[in-house]
Amino acid sequence: MRLLIVIPAYNEEQSLAALLTEIRSLREPDTEIETIVVDDGSADRTTEVARASGARVLRLCRNLGIGGAVQSGLRLARRENFDFAVQVDGDGQHPPGELRHLLERARQDPAPDLVIGSRFLTKPDPTTFRSTVTRRVGIWWLKVLLRLTRLKVTDPTSGFRLYGKRALRLFDANYPYDFPEPEALAVARAARLTIAEAPVKMRERQGGTSSIGPFAAAYYMLKVTLAVLLTYVRAPRRIPEGSDNATSD
């Protein structure tokens, strides 16, 4: 089985080396793991750090935002016929060791198309990182919103996700661009992908600063709310037909 770890990174030179070292030490039975860092037009040494750590690098010539960066990695995973792709944020919030929970869930029968790493499936551990109250209120609102699409998830903003082949086909063609996580779930639901969750622990970002300030947070909520409602009312997006190994090399 082949797994591609997709790391979207924008000015993450501080946290990337440690993250890639952790990923290199990952061992999964019967799984060939490759890593690709998607440098989203960084102004720092993100690309150099990633290359020095032995990762493959997709260097975007301009900043596309998290959605565009993730889609680039998913597109590559689909073209190179990977069985799974996992999104791991470049800021180090997603411990690579937790990836095994996503894989375990993906291997269960019936296999889901998309597995979300959720912080809220188990009782909160006071020693691990927790989101701020404002963020938790936002997450609660998004959960309510996604219930409109009959999708029950506990962590709609989690970017720690595993994509199966059908999800790769869908998101290669359609992936939302800014603040994409909740909207991508609505798109996946509309395309009738099966979505599951697996419990994971997350930690605080290991370097750099968050790009989401108070104004961006307000815009985030408004935009995501409209986007989910739009996805709910418009015709479902179909998963493109076609061979998964068309351009495999």
Binding site: R56, L58, R59, C61, L64, R75, L76, Y177, D249
Partner: protein
């Protein structure tokens, strides 16, 4: 009536000047003919209104406007809103294409880099 026509002719001249500026931009290839057609049509309608104010007044009255100026404002606002909408569609399309192009370029560049590295290491082994 003659006075009214003279007043409006200034407006027609203004439309003509803007049309000439657009033509200049077209000749210099700063804008495309395809993109400027709807703007040209808008200018032509405004110009015709200025040249034929009597007929325009009749049209305005038929449409329920008591003041000619209100009719002109409404026509201009509606036309500009349509032009803006058209620009929005064009810009959105270009934005999406630009994202895809950026992604494809990055994927091709990565593939090329890998092939070059493989070729270089193959040459080293051969020598």
């Amino acid at each position: 009536m003659q006075q009214v026509t003279d007043d409006y002719l200034i407006f027609a001249l203004a439309c003509l000047v803007i049309a000439l500026v657009m033509l200049r931009l077209l000749f210099r290839e700063r804008i495309t003919l395809q993109g400027s057609m709807s703007y040209m049509a808008f200018l032509a309608v405004l110009g015709l209104m200025a040249i034929f104010p009597y007929q325009t007044t009749i049209l305005a009255r038929r449409l329920g406007f008591t003041l000619m100026s209100n009719f002109l404002f409404c026509t201009a606002i509606a036309a500009l809103a349509l032009l803006h909408l058209r620009s929005l569609v064009t810009v959105s399309k270009i934005q999406l294409r630009s994202v895809t192009l950026t992604q494809e370029l990055a994927i091709l560049q990565e593939k090329l880099d890998r092939l070059e590295r493989a070729s270089a290491s193959g040459e080293q082994r051969a020598s």
